[in-house]
């Protein structure tokens, strides 16, 4: 599994694109649901619902998206570990991803469940959106940077 040549995932040309599709659907669900709560913190969208209610409603779906991401991601990584590991864009993506997850399940969770509003909510929502958008940028740039 640690050598690209012996990895069974590289046997078919279709497996990687399939994994990518799961990855895309996964982050659409994960980042999308996180985005809904972030927009609410910014006062956009579902304003009739309390932030706490919204956060609780979407939480299981965020986890489902995250599960898809965490299953497909490492599998894709394993198909060409050296390339990813050495790719600066991938490295930045992983750092942003770790920060985004950490932020999401600590500070943002507290602010959302407490029913945050005003300056703090806007700040927390913006930071969250920026972190997750950085993850997306990092992901796209993998193919555009480093030695292919």
């Amino acid at each position: 599994m640690f050598l690209a040549e012996t990895n069974p995932l590289n046997n078919s040309a279709l497996i990687f694109p399939a994994l990518e599709c799961f990855h895309i659907v996964g982050f659409a669900i994960c980042v999308g649901t996180i985005g809904i709560v972030d927009l609410r913190l910014l006062g956009i969208g579902m304003n009739r619902q309390k932030t706490a209610e919204l956060a609780r409603d979407v939480a299981p779906w965020t986890l489902a998206g995250l599960a898809l991401i965490l299953l497909s991601g490492p599998l894709m990584f394993s198909s060409d570990p050296d390339m990813y590991y050495l790719n600066p864009s991938f490295q930045i993506k992983m750092v942003c991803f770790a920060l985004a997850l950490l932020f999401n399940y600590t500070i943002r969770r507290r602010v959302a469940l407490r029913g945050g509003s005003g300056g703090v909510a806007v700040l927390v929502g913006s930071v969250s959106l920026l972190l997750w958008i950085s993850v997306i940028f990092g992901g796209i740039f993998i193919a555009f940077t480093g030695n292919m």
């Binding site: 999308g32 649901t33 809904i36 619902q49 958008i133």
Partner: protein, 180 residues
Amino acid sequence: MLTFAQWVQETGIATAVRELWLPYPIILSLHLSFIALAAGMILVTNLRLLGIAMRKRPVADVVDQLRWPKRIVFLGIIACGLLLASSKAEEYYYNVFFWIKMSLLALIAVHGLAFRRGVYNNAAEFDRTGRIPGNAKLAAALSLVLWTGVAIAGRGIGYIEPPLDKLHAQVLPVYIEQGR
């Protein structure tokens, strides 16, 4: 169509996006960021119509409150998409996944029009009767399938090699260097 594609990609902005290596991935990343936000809103709407998620919230709350955020995010997606497509118009002309994606988007437009009166402008009625009718659930299910198709087709676009022998435009030297 082909000459139109060739004309579009020769415009100043399209050429700029294509010939510098940085704008295309930036615009693509913005495209995907807007898509992620839109995906969340579309998912939540459809799950509510299917009665799977947010069951305690009125359907009208979900459908009506997300209407304008969705439209604004869609504008962002389309703006990015136009820049991306125009920069590689001739290449996309030959790309089957691009045409599949466009066809699915056209179907989504038809879907939106078809279900507008009965479902999307009618959410208050569902809350009044406490029942979500079959056609609303059909609209939601179709929406999920179509949008997933768009996402997959969109990713597919990047998998097809540009037909270098057919293209008139200056292709990024990095493609040739990498043997792509």
